[in-house]
Subunit: 317 residues, 2 copies
């Protein structure tokens, strides 16, 4: 199999490529290295198991160039990774999310590529969903611009399935954490403690409560579900069975980093920023019924991530 992984030099993409190469796939990576890191995939580039197309998803020509390389299946993971950015810059998610996804499915149509897996997100559900939230919850009313772009991407893919015969797997991710993380709350906390080990500022009141999934579990779930389902359009929540509060994450990071004296300070309010969803937990029965279950619960995933990122970032200057 020849796979195209968009955002393949990024956090989740690079872990997925580890698995694809391990099972013998050849991988084309399409990444503009804006938030990805070449070091994450350098070994696969050196071994010849992967090749990099240094291109921008906002350019249909760039995507067509990658799609012309005899691709069997597309894993479309590229996106702006910073949800908060939408509160300040409003066209990033439109261009790097919605328009990029249009370019991907359009290039697939033009090249005759039929299979796509898409990294969507639990944030498409918005904030009034029942918890745990099943895949058939409606209406989906995202409150962040990032969520709007993920929903738009789902719709584009769904319409290319209905109109042009694509086959698709749409995965709505919980908070995915792990080694090589480039953003998110654990990453932020370690950087804050590196800057000042005596205090840790937490956005909101710390009672935000979400589900966390370790990235290895996430990419294994993707490949398991794709191997065991075959509808024209397959929709799966991917997450763990429980949640952790931001307060608990702060405690774990303080513990793992050894900053035991750090004062944890809360900015207050029920959410970290406008468009943040205070509580999120996905119903994962469909994933479990497909025969896959996670190895780590939310706290395990957070502790593992804090340990990995501490090593990658380091507390010393």
């Amino acid at each position: 199999m020849r796979a195209l992984v968009t955002g393949g030099a990024g956090f989740i993409g690079s872990h997925l490529i580890d698995r694809l190469v391990a099972r013998g796939d050849h991988v084309v990576v399409l990444d503009n290295l804006s938030s990805g890191n070449l070091a994450f995939i350098q070994g696969h580039l050196d071994s010849g198991d992967a090749v990099l197309v240094n291109g921008d998803l906002r350019s249909l020509d760039d995507v067509k160039q990658a799609m012309a390389m005899d691709i069997d299946c597309v894993y479309h993971l590229a996106a702006n990774p910073d949800i908060r950015l939408g509160t300040r810059v409003t066209d990033t998610d439109l261009n790097q999310g919605t328009v990029a996804t249009y370019n991907v499915v359009e290039a697939m149509r033009l090249a005759g590529v039929k299979k796509i897996a898409f990294a969507s997100s639990s944030v498409v559900y918005g904030e009034n969903a029942p918890m745990p939230t099943p895949e058939n919850h409606g209406p989906c009313m995202p409150i962040s611009l990032y969520g709007a772009s993920k929903q738009a991407g789902e719709g584009l893919i769904s319409s290319w399935v209905g109109t042009f015969g694509l086959q698709a797997w749409i995965f709505r991710f919980a908070n995915v954490v792990g080694a090589r993380g480039t953003h998110g709350v654990i990453f932020d906390f370690i950087h804050k403690l590196k800057n000042d080990p005596t205090r840790l500022e937490v956005l909101g009141n710390g009672l935000q409560e979400k589900s966390y999934m370790e990235v290895g579990d996430c990419v294994d779930a993707i490949l398991h579900v794709m191997a065991t389902t075959d509808e024209p359009l397959n929709l799966f929540n991917l997450g763990s069975h429980d949640t952790a509060s931001v307060r608990r994450i702060a405690e774990i990071v303080v513990e793992v980093t050894g900053c035991a004296d750090a004062r944890i300070e809360y900015t207050g309010g029920d959410r970290g920023w406008a468009g943040d969803i205070p509580r999120a937990r996905l119903a994962i029965e469909r994933m479990v019924d497909s025969g896959f279950d996670v190895r780590m619960n939310s706290e395990d995933a957070i502790r593992h991530t804090a340990t990995c990122l501490l090593e990658e970032i380091g507390l010393e200057e």
Copy 2:
């Protein structure tokens, strides 16, 4: 009140403006006249009750220019009206739908305009929804590119509500028909009979069965719902209580046009084109519970429309 109506020179937009002017609103029309018709609103332009900004929704600058005219409420109706076009040209709905809606909400944010009504569509539900389909159906998986752009528009508006404090009314329309129609099955049938009064070709097997709403009912429903609801985000299906088959529409059009000898021929297949949804009926309890009900059922609306369009189009060259 000062209203901005995008697509105001179009089919639904011009009927809405009739009502807005009748109740004393001043109306700014933003339309590029690509499918709209100046004649539909000429009276209101002549009387000074409406002004036209001849601009393109794909240009943020054009939308900002209209939004700067002291607007209280936006009625965002502009879109590519031809659902079938997406099977041939794939970026029309992206640009005239999704990007246009981004430009509208972004211009609202920049100008401090807070209220928006949005014309969405029953096609966001896709084709596996239960019938009648309630607003909380999920997952919404549109099969047409037009449907994908309406879903993307809903998500953009929802995220601007959640992030920037907009207030929104999202209306998912059944098939809206009536005088001044510029597209759709009744319009097509009359043009076909004008071209050849001896035969009428019907796309599909004619068993497609959908709900039709008369445009006067539709715009009255919009204004009634907006006057009686006040959540940050208000979502309503708008439709009639029943359905009509394409076969029945063909019979009614043949009867109304007096082409009693026309042979009705079916191209076969369960749908008119790739991305067409064969059966659609909306649950309208929310609309009815708000205190509004339709005056015409589907057949009444179709017969009324055929009569109006026959007069507008004429059968003679």
